[in-house]
């Protein structure tokens, strides 16, 4: 990747993080989980997926399924920055005149499937991968799950079935931000050694720093990782990435900041000192 391209992706990701922060008030959103996968989504939609405004319903397009649906601010922020979605539409967050809320809705063009109930989209994406293969199409089918989401047995069921059917056009991406809703994953249901688990199920695994565009490019450009196995990319990330005042904290999952905090967090994102946050520290939705 050229340095110029990398800087451009970083700029886009910064804008996406601004959208996420701006959505974290007036009812709030899942800020921490959105910030962790912003770089991943920016990379995929900017540089990797064959998805653009002109092909959103074409059967030839690539598919990205956001299974950890509560990070939808990162998706909509990416859509807004890349011209897939009108930026003004973000102002409709939590308004009844639109479908922009805490989880994805297919009324927003580009959203492949609604999510919110964890552990569903691995199997839905697998169905799409089955069909692409039946039709001998080379679409890439990507499903992004959270790491906490890996508690759900249905994820592993889908992995087992995808391996059995040798669906090498299907890629599971894990946003490994180390936290589930309220606690660190390793303190509740330990996942490590995670790569070994997927390998043991029959996948080919690559583990990368999910905030490094060079590593993102290298990993995704290498897909499919195998001729007869599904691919898994474990993206090691930081919950709340970009805002040191909330980074890697168990109590910053869902955030509903006040207006002063939002102003300060936007500055913090651009390098100013940490924000003194006084709004409610833990709201579990």
């Amino acid at each position: 990747m050229k340095e110029e391209k990398r800087k451009q992706l970083e700029q886009t990701a910064l804008k996406v993080r601004e959208h996420i922060i701006n959505l974290s008030t007036d009812g709030g959103c899942f800020t921490g989980a959105s910030l962790s996968c912003a770089d991943l989504l920016v990379y995929l939609y900017s540089d990797f997926l064959n998805v653009h405004k002109g092909n959103l319903t074409s059967p030839e397009r690539d598919y990205l399924f956001l299974s950890k649906g509560h990070d939808v601010p990162a998706l909509y922020g990416t859509f807004a920055e890349l011209g897939l979605m009108d930026k003004d539409r973000l102002k409709n967050h939590l308004q009844t005149n639109d479908s922009v809320y805490w989880h994805p809705n297919r009324n927003v063009p580009g959203v492949e499937f609604h999510s919110g109930s964890l552990g569903h989209l691995p199997s839905v994406a697998m169905g799409v991968a089955f069909d692409c293969r039946m039709r001998k199409q080379n679409n890439k089918v990507i499903v992004v799950t959270g790491d906490g989401e890996l508690n759900e047995g249905s994820v592993w069921e889908a992995v087992l079935v995808a391996c059995a059917h040798k669906l090498n056009n299907l890629t599971f991406v894990i946003d490994r931000n180390q936290f589930q809703a309220n606690v660190a994953t390793e303190d509740l249901i330990p996942l490590e050694p995670l790569a070994d688990k997927f390998e043991a199920f029959g996948c080919k695994v690559k583990r990368i720093n999910g905030h490094d565009f060079l590593q993102l490019e290298e990993a995704f450009r290498a897909l499919p990782l195998s001729a007869d196995k599904p691919s898994v990319i474990i993206a090691d990330t930081i919950r709340g990435k970009g805002l040191p005042s909330i980074e890697a904290r168990a109590d910053r999952w869902f955030c509903n900041f006040n207006k002063e905090e939002i102003k300060s967090l936007l500055k913090e994102l651009h390098g100013a000192e940490q924000t003194n946050i006084e709004s409610e520290t833990l709201i579990v939705r």
């Binding site: 499937f113 199997s123 169905g127 799409v128 089955f130 069909d131 692409c132 249905s154």
Partner: protein
């Protein structure tokens, strides 16, 4: 023609059809060789099969999925509700051994709340054919409907000749009667044919309605029966709650009317596992026992037309 032959011919004529199973191959044994890639066995994974069916439907396919009724409707319920119900995807659920048809399996396999929970999903259509002929007559329209659909598979063979014209939302009115009308769905239709004969020998005028389309429901058939008969009887291999008896009650409320209704269903209990005929005897669902209960009901009350 069998279920499998109809499915095979349908799938061979229309490449949108994909046949799936959660390793329940009773109905589709020959499909792997015939349909090749369009046959997908996901193993014993009801929820994953439903999720994958949703993905296939997103790509324009019509998946016909097969699993045991209790695991399909209950283990995979949230996937059906969330991945098929919310987007209203045309996935067709073929439910094996529903109701009493699980005979000796025991309560784990007894889908006797399936109608209740499936009809609660917006857009989901629900069908319970009386026998194989009734099933095969209904499936082409069910499979070509744009909705998700739940079908209680019933491949029992009977000598009864059904009205071959199946319409979604229409019951089959076999007979009208002024004393009693039997409202029934699924395999108990066979028993109610016997009930009807017994009651007629007693000099009663007996109506019989095959409620094969449970959602959309044929409300007119219910209201007409209530108007014409002194007593309505709902007969179902289902919990009393949420099935046909409930649907009849809801229909009456919606239309500001009522009637005398005798429910024959499972009251707050699972049924005793045994071979089917023994189950029917033990639980009191034979044609003879149903007739006996109806005569007792008619004697117990002075029933006038509602």
């Amino acid at each position: 023609m069998s279920y499998e032959e109809l499915l095979r011919d349908t799938a061979l004529a229309d490449e949108r059809f994909v046949v799936m199973t959660a390793e329940n191959r009773a109905l589709v044994r020959n499909m792997p060789a015939t349909l090749k890639e369009r046959f997908i066995d996901t193993g014993i994974t009801e929820q994953t099969m439903i999720g994958a069916a949703a993905g296939l439907a997103l790509r324009g396919r019509i998946p016909v999925v097969h699993a045991l009724a209790s695991f399909l409707t209950m283990r995979a319920f949230e996937f059906i509700r969330t991945d098929l119900g919310i987007p209203n995807l045309p996935v067709k659920l073929s439910s094996w051994i529903p109701g009493f048809l699980s005979d000796g399996n025991g309560p784990t396999h007894q889908a006797i709340e399936d109608i209740s929970i499936m009809r609660g999903i917006p857009g989901m259509q629900v069908f319970a054919p009386a026998d194989e002929q009734d099933l095969l007559g209904a499936l082409p329209k069910i499979w070509s409907s744009p909705n998700p659909a739940y079908v209680r598979i019933n491949i029992r063979k009977t000598d009864f000749k059904h009205n071959p014209v199946f319409e979604i939302g229409k019951a089959e009115v076999v007979a009208t009667g002024t004393d009693v009308t039997l409202l029934v769905y699924g395999m108990l239709f066979e028993e109610t044919l016997k009930t009807k004969t017994i009651l007629e020998k007693e000099g009663l005028s007996v109506g019989l309605v095959n409620m094969r389309s449970l959602k959309p429901l044929d409300e007119k058939a219910i209201l007409d029966a209530a108007k014409n008969s002194r007593l309505l009887v709902t007969i179902e291999d289902h919990f009393l709650t949420g099935g046909l008896y409930t649907m009849v009650a809801e229909t009456f409320l919606r239309h500001h009317t009522t009637a005398h209704v005798l429910p024959i269903a499972l009251h707050e209990k699972w049924f005793k596992p045994a071979l089917l005929q023994e189950v029917l005897k033990f639980e009191g669902f034979t044609g003879e026992k149903i007739a006996h209960n109806i005569i007792t009901e008619l004697e117990k009350k002075t029933l006038t037309k509602a």
